[in-house]
Amino acid sequence: MNLLRYIAGRLVVYILVVIFALTVLFFVPRLGPTDPVEAMLAKVASQGAYMDAAQVDALRQSLADTFGLDGSLWDQYGAFIKRIVLTADFGPSLSMYPTPVMELIRNALPWTFGLLLTSTLIAWVLGNFVGLLSGWKPNSTSSRVMEGIAICLYPIPYYILALLLSILFSYIWKIFPLTTTIRGAPWSWELITSVVWNSFLPAMSIVIVVFGWWVISVKAQTTALKEEEFVRYARLKGLGDARILSRYVLPNAILPQITFLALQIGLMFNGSLITEILFDYPGLGLLIYTAVLQGDFNLLMGTISLSVIAVATATMIIDLIYPLLDPRIRHR
């Protein structure tokens, strides 16, 4: 029963957070010194796209729709929230007219999720393994070296690492491609290898940093857990190191990281945006960047709203998973 109340409470907070975030997004354009519609039209015109008067009018109307400039501020706000929450409709893309913004986002999202999920997962597994071992034998040389490396990797922002990697492996040693070009028919072997090949450096820039973070935190947890009574008891039961680490230390080391992970998602997302842009990787980040460069306001509003909602959702999901993993909360 407590658990249900927790879930309900968390869902209410989630909805409020999303509405709050959308409210921020609604007011940001209205804080600006310029009229965003005219600024956007000027920007589109400056891109050299030829449009006749009717098209300009249609565009102006579409922009006014996106900004929701009709009616009083309160009406505009209501219409804006309703459109995003109920219909998830951001209108047509202006730079790739008339493709709907949602379609572009749908194409980009799997790339971003794939990149983030795979690299986080790889980093997670490696980081747990190394962190656990170096926390178990903290004074061994290899554990000190690993921790040193982790400490030097963790504070580096993703995009800086991405730059470093691309300087090293795309310019100096020309091993990996400079920009992403995906080739091959759907689900063909060629496509898969080309995806892996092209995603390697962007993924590595995320893997390395997240790896550093997990090593540091799992090591700290492990060193603390080693002194716990239940670990000592397990040892006095005659259990081997492997079993003690996997069944007693690891689960207890991972659990507290999960809430921290929820706080990190936003930062991870920020980082992956820039990494995508630097590598021309066809995800949400690149889409946002394209929208900025082309002055495609519909696309910009759509991608940004969706990023914000996606991060809030991911955070909520982690918050909801946490009590399922921790029996002390699940069975209170």
Partner: protein, 274 residues
């Protein structure tokens, strides 16, 4: 079963700090031995030396702790120094810790924690049958089968301690060492658990070593009592005798400080250097 011969145990490698000083002691088959003494008297260190737990810098400086375990079923005899006991843990020897909140893995169900570490001879048969045997065993401690599916935080202090006793006893070992097993509990629960431990020992006819600072506990269940003071054994003998006729000043004070139901305290406080 265990022969402790003139052993000196302590901590540290560079500067050695003695905790147990030239102690000799025998633990016999089929008996309950009590080790009493205040905190810092070396009783827990002695227990760790007997169990063979030489982590965190504990080591034997001189003397020996020798164990001789006879497997009741196969008749095979194993003789070893306590530093070589680790392979015998949860087989020939088991251990009951003080049941604080954190002694059981908070993320593991009780059933798994009973099974984890069991010797092969106790694990035979299907996991269903094993679960049934554990449940029956727990029933003897007044614990329902649902306890097996519980997590440690769902148990009360008394239940947790009973589970710990049951985990150690289910191994069916030749020697059980118990470190302050009832200290954190109220008197009624304490008494119940002590009686269970006696019953288990009588049934399994093995040896039980009970370490406690509480003479009342020793009076209730031990056959033989060892009193430690400042790292040495100051007195040992059958429990009844030690209580009836204490020889050492420290023991006299200990016994004198016990509350009595009838009459005045037996002995006036004697000036032991405590």
């Amino acid at each position: 079963m265990i022969t402790v011969d003139n052993v000196t145990v302590g901590y540290g490698t560079a500067g050695f700090i003695k905790a147990v000083d030239q102690v000799s002691l025998t633990i016999n088959d089929n008996e309950i031995l009590g080790i009493a003494g205040e905190s810092g008297s070396g009783k827990s260190t002695l227990m760790r030396a007997v169990y063979g737990d030489f982590s965190t810098g504990l080591r034997i400086q001189s003397g020996t702790v020798t164990g001789r375990f006879e497997d009741a079923r196969t008749g095979k005899v194993i003789e070893a120094q306590s530093s070589q006991f680790a392979p015998l843990w949860w087989d020939q020897l088991s251990y009951i810790p003080q049941g604080s909140m954190s002694v059981l893995n908070p993320l593991m169900k009780i059933e798994a924690q009973v099974v984890d570490g069991l010797p092969a001879r106790e694990k035979q048969g299907s996991s269903r049958a094993l679960r049934q045997r554990i449940a029956d065993f727990l029933a003897g401690f007044g614990l329902e089968e649902t306890v097996l599916d519980a997590y440690p935080h769902q148990l009360s202090g008394g239940m947790r301690q009973r589970v710990l006793v049951a985990i150690a006893a289910f191994v069916n070992p030749r020697l059980i060492l118990a470190d302050e097993p009832t200290t954190a509990l109220d008197v009624v629960v304490q008494k119940k658990i002590l009686l269970m431990m006696v019953e288990i020992q009588r049934r399994q006819r093995n040896s039980l070593v009970l370490v406690s600072h509480d003479l009342g506990v020793h009076y209730q269940i031990t056959d033989r009592l060892v009193i430690m003071y400042q790292g040495r054994i100051v007195e040992q003998g059958p429990t009844a005798e030690v209580f009836a006729n204490p020889q050492h000043d420290y023991t006299k004070n200990l016994i004198a400080s016990l509350p009595r139901l009838h009459g005045k305290r037996a002995v006036e406080v004697v000036g032991a250097s405590a």
